[in-house]
Subunit: 175 residues, 2 copies
Protein backbone atom coordinates (compact mmCIF):
# COMPACT_ATOMS: atom_id res chain seq x y z
CA UNK A 1 0.00 0.00 0.00
CA UNK A 2 2.78 2.39 0.96
CA UNK A 3 4.65 1.29 -2.15
CA UNK A 4 1.71 2.36 -4.27
CA UNK A 5 1.73 5.74 -2.55
CA UNK A 6 5.45 6.16 -3.09
CA UNK A 7 5.09 5.17 -6.73
CA UNK A 8 2.32 7.74 -7.12
CA UNK A 9 4.56 10.33 -5.46
CA UNK A 10 7.42 9.50 -7.80
CA UNK A 11 5.20 9.89 -10.84
CA UNK A 12 3.99 13.24 -9.57
CA UNK A 13 7.57 14.38 -9.07
CA UNK A 14 8.39 13.15 -12.55
CA UNK A 15 5.61 15.23 -14.08
CA UNK A 16 3.75 12.38 -15.76
CA UNK A 17 0.83 12.33 -13.44
CA UNK A 18 -2.15 11.96 -15.68
CA UNK A 19 -1.15 8.68 -17.22
CA UNK A 20 -0.63 6.78 -14.01
CA UNK A 21 -3.24 8.18 -11.66
CA UNK A 22 -6.15 5.96 -10.63
CA UNK A 23 -8.89 7.19 -12.93
CA UNK A 24 -11.86 5.90 -11.04
CA UNK A 25 -14.52 7.84 -12.91
CA UNK A 26 -14.90 9.83 -16.08
CA UNK A 27 -13.25 13.16 -15.44
CA UNK A 28 -15.65 14.95 -17.78
CA UNK A 29 -18.37 14.66 -15.12
CA UNK A 30 -18.90 18.17 -13.75
CA UNK A 31 -20.49 16.90 -10.54
CA UNK A 32 -17.60 14.61 -9.63
CA UNK A 33 -14.23 15.45 -8.14
CA UNK A 34 -11.45 14.80 -10.65
CA UNK A 35 -9.25 11.72 -10.50
CA UNK A 36 -11.34 9.88 -7.88
CA UNK A 37 -14.81 10.56 -9.25
CA UNK A 38 -16.24 11.38 -5.80
CA UNK A 39 -19.67 13.02 -5.80
CA UNK A 40 -21.09 15.12 -2.97
CA UNK A 41 -22.63 12.60 -0.55
CA UNK A 42 -26.30 13.38 0.10
CA UNK A 43 -27.13 14.48 3.63
CA UNK A 44 -23.55 14.68 4.86
CA UNK A 45 -24.33 17.77 7.00
CA UNK A 46 -26.56 15.51 9.13
CA UNK A 47 -23.78 13.02 9.88
CA UNK A 48 -22.45 12.46 13.38
CA UNK A 49 -19.43 14.24 14.78
CA UNK A 50 -16.01 12.63 14.78
CA UNK A 51 -13.93 15.58 15.92
CA UNK A 52 -13.07 19.27 15.51
CA UNK A 53 -9.84 21.13 14.80
CA UNK A 54 -8.22 24.46 14.10
CA UNK A 55 -5.69 24.62 11.31
CA UNK A 56 -3.58 27.74 11.64
CA UNK A 57 -1.04 28.96 9.08
CA UNK A 58 -2.06 29.46 5.49
CA UNK A 59 -5.34 27.56 5.88
CA UNK A 60 -6.42 29.45 9.02
CA UNK A 61 -9.70 27.62 9.35
CA UNK A 62 -11.81 25.97 12.00
CA UNK A 63 -13.25 22.61 11.10
CA UNK A 64 -15.56 19.77 11.99
CA UNK A 65 -15.06 16.20 10.90
CA UNK A 66 -18.25 14.19 10.44
CA UNK A 67 -18.73 10.59 9.41
CA UNK A 68 -21.41 8.45 7.84
CA UNK A 69 -22.71 5.56 9.97
CA UNK A 70 -20.03 3.14 8.77
CA UNK A 71 -17.20 5.57 9.51
CA UNK A 72 -18.49 6.60 12.95
CA UNK A 73 -19.06 2.96 13.98
CA UNK A 74 -15.51 2.08 12.90
CA UNK A 75 -14.10 5.05 14.81
CA UNK A 76 -15.98 4.16 17.99
CA UNK A 77 -15.10 0.47 17.80
CA UNK A 78 -11.51 1.06 16.70
CA UNK A 79 -11.94 -0.92 13.48
CA UNK A 80 -8.89 -0.43 11.22
CA UNK A 81 -8.62 -0.42 8.33
CA UNK A 82 -11.96 1.30 7.88
CA UNK A 83 -14.52 -0.90 6.11
CA UNK A 84 -15.57 -0.17 2.55
CA UNK A 85 -18.37 2.35 2.48
CA UNK A 86 -16.92 4.53 5.23
CA UNK A 87 -16.99 8.21 4.33
CA UNK A 88 -15.34 10.97 6.36
CA UNK A 89 -16.39 14.58 5.75
CA UNK A 90 -14.18 17.48 6.72
CA UNK A 91 -16.10 20.77 6.82
CA UNK A 92 -14.07 23.96 7.17
CA UNK A 93 -14.91 27.60 7.74
CA UNK A 94 -12.81 30.75 7.98
CA UNK A 95 -11.42 31.15 11.49
CA UNK A 96 -12.81 34.41 12.80
CA UNK A 97 -12.87 36.28 16.06
CA UNK A 98 -16.37 36.68 17.49
CA UNK A 99 -16.82 40.33 18.42
CA UNK A 100 -20.29 39.47 19.70
CA UNK A 101 -19.06 36.82 22.15
CA UNK A 102 -15.97 38.78 23.15
CA UNK A 103 -18.16 41.74 24.11
CA UNK A 104 -19.92 39.50 26.64
CA UNK A 105 -16.70 37.97 27.97
CA UNK A 106 -14.87 41.30 28.11
CA UNK A 107 -11.83 40.05 26.22
CA UNK A 108 -10.76 38.54 22.91
CA UNK A 109 -11.19 34.83 23.47
CA UNK A 110 -13.88 33.43 21.20
CA UNK A 111 -13.08 32.12 17.72
CA UNK A 112 -15.90 30.84 15.58
CA UNK A 113 -16.71 29.79 12.00
CA UNK A 114 -16.93 32.51 9.37
CA UNK A 115 -17.82 31.72 5.77
CA UNK A 116 -17.47 28.09 4.68
CA UNK A 117 -14.23 27.44 2.77
CA UNK A 118 -14.62 23.91 1.47
CA UNK A 119 -15.75 20.40 2.37
CA UNK A 120 -13.44 17.47 1.76
CA UNK A 121 -14.42 13.82 1.67
CA UNK A 122 -12.41 10.64 2.16
CA UNK A 123 -14.28 7.67 0.72
CA UNK A 124 -13.18 4.13 1.53
CA UNK A 125 -13.32 1.59 -1.29
CA UNK A 126 -10.46 -0.84 -1.03
CA UNK A 127 -10.88 -2.10 -4.61
CA UNK A 128 -11.74 1.07 -6.49
CA UNK A 129 -9.04 3.09 -4.77
CA UNK A 130 -6.49 0.30 -4.23
CA UNK A 131 -3.64 2.43 -5.57
CA UNK A 132 -4.22 5.17 -2.98
CA UNK A 133 -4.50 3.13 0.20
CA UNK A 134 -8.15 2.30 -0.35
CA UNK A 135 -9.23 5.92 -0.10
CA UNK A 136 -10.63 8.25 -2.72
CA UNK A 137 -10.75 12.00 -2.17
CA UNK A 138 -12.86 14.95 -3.19
CA UNK A 139 -13.14 18.64 -2.37
CA UNK A 140 -16.32 20.67 -2.78
CA UNK A 141 -16.97 24.40 -2.64
CA UNK A 142 -20.53 25.66 -2.53
CA UNK A 143 -21.73 22.15 -3.30
CA UNK A 144 -19.61 21.87 -6.46
CA UNK A 145 -16.44 19.82 -6.84
CA UNK A 146 -13.14 21.61 -7.12
CA UNK A 147 -12.08 20.53 -10.61
CA UNK A 148 -8.36 21.08 -10.14
CA UNK A 149 -6.42 17.90 -10.80
CA UNK A 150 -3.31 19.63 -9.46
CA UNK A 151 -5.09 19.94 -6.12
CA UNK A 152 -6.51 16.44 -6.07
CA UNK A 153 -3.20 14.71 -6.72
CA UNK A 154 -1.91 16.17 -3.45
CA UNK A 155 -4.44 14.28 -1.26
CA UNK A 156 -3.15 10.71 -1.34
CA UNK A 157 0.59 11.40 -0.95
CA UNK A 158 -0.11 13.58 2.09
CA UNK A 159 -2.43 11.03 3.72
CA UNK A 160 0.18 8.36 2.99
CA UNK A 161 2.36 10.09 5.57
CA UNK A 162 -0.12 9.24 8.33
CA UNK A 163 0.67 5.93 10.03
CA UNK A 164 -0.99 2.90 8.43
CA UNK A 165 -2.07 2.00 12.00
CA UNK A 166 -4.59 4.79 11.53
CA UNK A 167 -5.41 3.70 7.97
CA UNK A 168 -3.95 6.94 6.57
CA UNK A 169 -6.54 9.09 8.32
CA UNK A 170 -5.46 12.23 10.20
CA UNK A 171 -8.44 12.70 12.50
CA UNK A 172 -8.84 10.84 15.81
CA UNK A 173 -12.21 10.43 17.48
CA UNK A 174 -13.05 13.03 20.15
CA UNK A 175 -15.18 11.35 22.82
CA UNK B 1 -37.60 38.21 30.27
CA UNK B 2 -34.58 40.48 30.54
CA UNK B 3 -36.12 41.88 33.72
CA UNK B 4 -36.16 38.40 35.22
CA UNK B 5 -32.52 37.99 34.33
CA UNK B 6 -31.62 41.32 35.82
CA UNK B 7 -33.54 40.48 38.96
CA UNK B 8 -31.65 37.19 39.18
CA UNK B 9 -28.40 39.09 38.73
CA UNK B 10 -29.32 41.52 41.48
CA UNK B 11 -30.13 38.69 43.86
CA UNK B 12 -26.80 37.05 43.09
CA UNK B 13 -25.00 40.32 43.73
CA UNK B 14 -26.94 40.67 46.96
CA UNK B 15 -25.78 37.28 48.17
CA UNK B 16 -29.25 35.80 48.72
CA UNK B 17 -29.17 33.47 45.79
CA UNK B 18 -30.59 30.25 47.14
CA UNK B 19 -33.96 31.62 48.14
CA UNK B 20 -34.85 33.18 44.83
CA UNK B 21 -33.35 30.84 42.25
CA UNK B 22 -35.66 28.74 40.08
CA UNK B 23 -35.55 25.40 41.87
CA UNK B 24 -36.86 23.25 39.05
CA UNK B 25 -35.95 19.89 40.55
CA UNK B 26 -34.89 18.43 43.85
CA UNK B 27 -31.27 19.41 44.32
CA UNK B 28 -30.55 16.27 46.36
CA UNK B 29 -30.60 14.25 43.12
CA UNK B 30 -26.99 13.24 42.42
CA UNK B 31 -27.65 12.66 38.72
CA UNK B 32 -29.12 16.11 38.14
CA UNK B 33 -27.37 19.45 37.73
CA UNK B 34 -28.16 21.75 40.68
CA UNK B 35 -30.70 24.57 40.45
CA UNK B 36 -32.13 23.52 37.08
CA UNK B 37 -32.40 19.77 37.64
CA UNK B 38 -31.01 18.93 34.18
CA UNK B 39 -30.01 15.29 33.63
CA UNK B 40 -27.53 14.05 31.04
CA UNK B 41 -29.59 13.66 27.85
CA UNK B 42 -29.29 10.12 26.47
CA UNK B 43 -27.52 9.80 23.14
CA UNK B 44 -26.40 13.44 22.93
CA UNK B 45 -23.07 12.43 21.34
CA UNK B 46 -25.06 11.24 18.30
CA UNK B 47 -26.77 14.60 17.76
CA UNK B 48 -26.19 16.71 14.67
CA UNK B 49 -23.64 19.48 14.48
CA UNK B 50 -24.60 23.11 15.01
CA UNK B 51 -21.14 24.66 15.07
CA UNK B 52 -17.59 24.56 16.43
CA UNK B 53 -15.44 27.08 18.29
CA UNK B 54 -12.19 27.75 20.05
CA UNK B 55 -12.30 29.55 23.36
CA UNK B 56 -8.88 30.94 24.21
CA UNK B 57 -7.93 32.55 27.52
CA UNK B 58 -8.53 30.73 30.77
CA UNK B 59 -10.80 28.12 29.17
CA UNK B 60 -8.39 27.31 26.33
CA UNK B 61 -10.61 24.65 24.82
CA UNK B 62 -11.88 23.55 21.43
CA UNK B 63 -15.54 22.74 21.23
CA UNK B 64 -18.42 21.36 19.24
CA UNK B 65 -22.00 22.41 19.65
CA UNK B 66 -24.57 19.72 18.86
CA UNK B 67 -28.35 19.85 18.98
CA UNK B 68 -31.23 17.46 19.35
CA UNK B 69 -33.66 17.30 16.42
CA UNK B 70 -35.83 20.15 17.73
CA UNK B 71 -32.85 22.45 18.25
CA UNK B 72 -31.22 21.70 14.88
CA UNK B 73 -34.51 22.17 13.02
CA UNK B 74 -35.03 25.53 14.76
CA UNK B 75 -31.47 26.60 13.92
CA UNK B 76 -31.86 25.67 10.26
CA UNK B 77 -35.26 27.29 9.90
CA UNK B 78 -34.38 30.35 11.96
CA UNK B 79 -37.15 29.73 14.50
CA UNK B 80 -36.74 32.06 17.50
CA UNK B 81 -37.42 31.72 20.31
CA UNK B 82 -36.44 28.06 20.24
CA UNK B 83 -39.41 25.75 20.81
CA UNK B 84 -39.79 23.85 24.07
CA UNK B 85 -37.88 20.60 23.95
CA UNK B 86 -34.87 22.07 22.16
CA UNK B 87 -31.59 20.99 23.74
CA UNK B 88 -28.19 22.37 22.80
CA UNK B 89 -25.08 20.44 23.86
CA UNK B 90 -21.69 22.11 24.10
CA UNK B 91 -18.85 19.57 24.19
CA UNK B 92 -15.38 20.86 25.02
CA UNK B 93 -11.91 19.37 25.02
CA UNK B 94 -8.50 20.71 25.97
CA UNK B 95 -6.99 22.67 23.08
CA UNK B 96 -3.79 20.88 22.17
CA UNK B 97 -1.19 21.08 19.45
CA UNK B 98 -1.05 17.94 17.30
CA UNK B 99 2.59 16.90 17.06
CA UNK B 100 1.52 14.05 14.79
CA UNK B 101 -0.20 16.31 12.25
CA UNK B 102 2.43 19.03 12.47
CA UNK B 103 5.14 16.48 11.62
CA UNK B 104 3.33 15.81 8.32
CA UNK B 105 2.76 19.48 7.56
CA UNK B 106 6.28 20.53 8.57
CA UNK B 107 5.11 23.32 10.87
CA UNK B 108 3.02 24.01 13.97
CA UNK B 109 -0.43 24.53 12.55
CA UNK B 110 -2.79 21.81 13.75
CA UNK B 111 -4.78 22.15 16.98
CA UNK B 112 -7.03 19.30 18.03
CA UNK B 113 -9.05 18.03 20.99
CA UNK B 114 -7.15 16.67 23.98
CA UNK B 115 -8.97 15.27 27.00
CA UNK B 116 -12.65 16.19 27.39
CA UNK B 117 -13.20 19.01 29.86
CA UNK B 118 -16.96 19.17 30.28
CA UNK B 119 -20.26 19.06 28.43
CA UNK B 120 -22.83 21.79 28.98
CA UNK B 121 -26.49 21.66 28.05
CA UNK B 122 -29.07 24.36 27.45
CA UNK B 123 -32.58 22.97 27.73
CA UNK B 124 -35.56 24.97 26.53
CA UNK B 125 -38.70 24.81 28.63
CA UNK B 126 -40.48 28.14 28.61
CA UNK B 127 -42.66 27.27 31.60
CA UNK B 128 -40.26 25.38 33.84
CA UNK B 129 -37.43 27.85 33.29
CA UNK B 130 -39.54 31.00 32.86
CA UNK B 131 -37.35 32.97 35.28
CA UNK B 132 -34.19 32.36 33.26
CA UNK B 133 -35.38 33.20 29.77
CA UNK B 134 -36.94 29.78 29.20
CA UNK B 135 -33.58 28.00 29.44
CA UNK B 136 -32.26 25.60 32.04
CA UNK B 137 -28.58 24.77 32.25
CA UNK B 138 -26.37 21.88 33.31
CA UNK B 139 -22.69 20.97 33.21
CA UNK B 140 -21.41 17.40 33.21
CA UNK B 141 -17.93 15.98 33.68
CA UNK B 142 -17.28 12.31 32.95
CA UNK B 143 -21.03 11.79 32.64
CA UNK B 144 -21.75 13.24 36.10
CA UNK B 145 -23.26 16.65 36.85
CA UNK B 146 -21.06 19.33 38.31
CA UNK B 147 -22.81 19.87 41.65
CA UNK B 148 -21.54 23.40 42.25
CA UNK B 149 -24.40 25.82 42.71
CA UNK B 150 -21.88 28.67 42.58
CA UNK B 151 -21.04 27.58 39.04
CA UNK B 152 -24.61 27.03 37.92
CA UNK B 153 -25.86 30.44 38.99
CA UNK B 154 -23.43 32.02 36.52
CA UNK B 155 -25.11 30.47 33.44
CA UNK B 156 -28.30 32.47 33.10
CA UNK B 157 -26.91 35.97 33.81
CA UNK B 158 -24.19 35.44 31.20
CA UNK B 159 -26.61 34.12 28.56
CA UNK B 160 -28.89 37.06 29.37
CA UNK B 161 -26.22 39.28 27.83
CA UNK B 162 -26.76 37.69 24.42
CA UNK B 163 -29.35 39.51 22.31
CA UNK B 164 -32.92 38.28 22.80
CA UNK B 165 -33.07 38.18 18.97
CA UNK B 166 -30.96 35.05 19.36
CA UNK B 167 -33.03 33.80 22.30
CA UNK B 168 -30.04 34.17 24.65
CA UNK B 169 -27.99 31.58 22.78
CA UNK B 170 -24.34 32.30 21.92
CA UNK B 171 -23.81 29.82 19.09
CA UNK B 172 -24.82 30.53 15.48
CA UNK B 173 -25.37 27.76 12.96
CA UNK B 174 -22.36 26.94 10.76
CA UNK B 175 -23.64 25.82 7.35
Amino acid sequence: MRTAFLRLGAYIMGGCVMVFLPLAAGSADDDAAPIFGIRLPAGYRDWQLISVAHEAGKLNDIRAVLGNDIAVKAYREGTRPFPDGAIIARLAWEYVSSAENDAVFGQTQSFVPGSPTNVQFSVKDSKKFADTGGWGYGQFEGGKPNRSEELMITCAPCHARVSSDHDFVFTRYAP
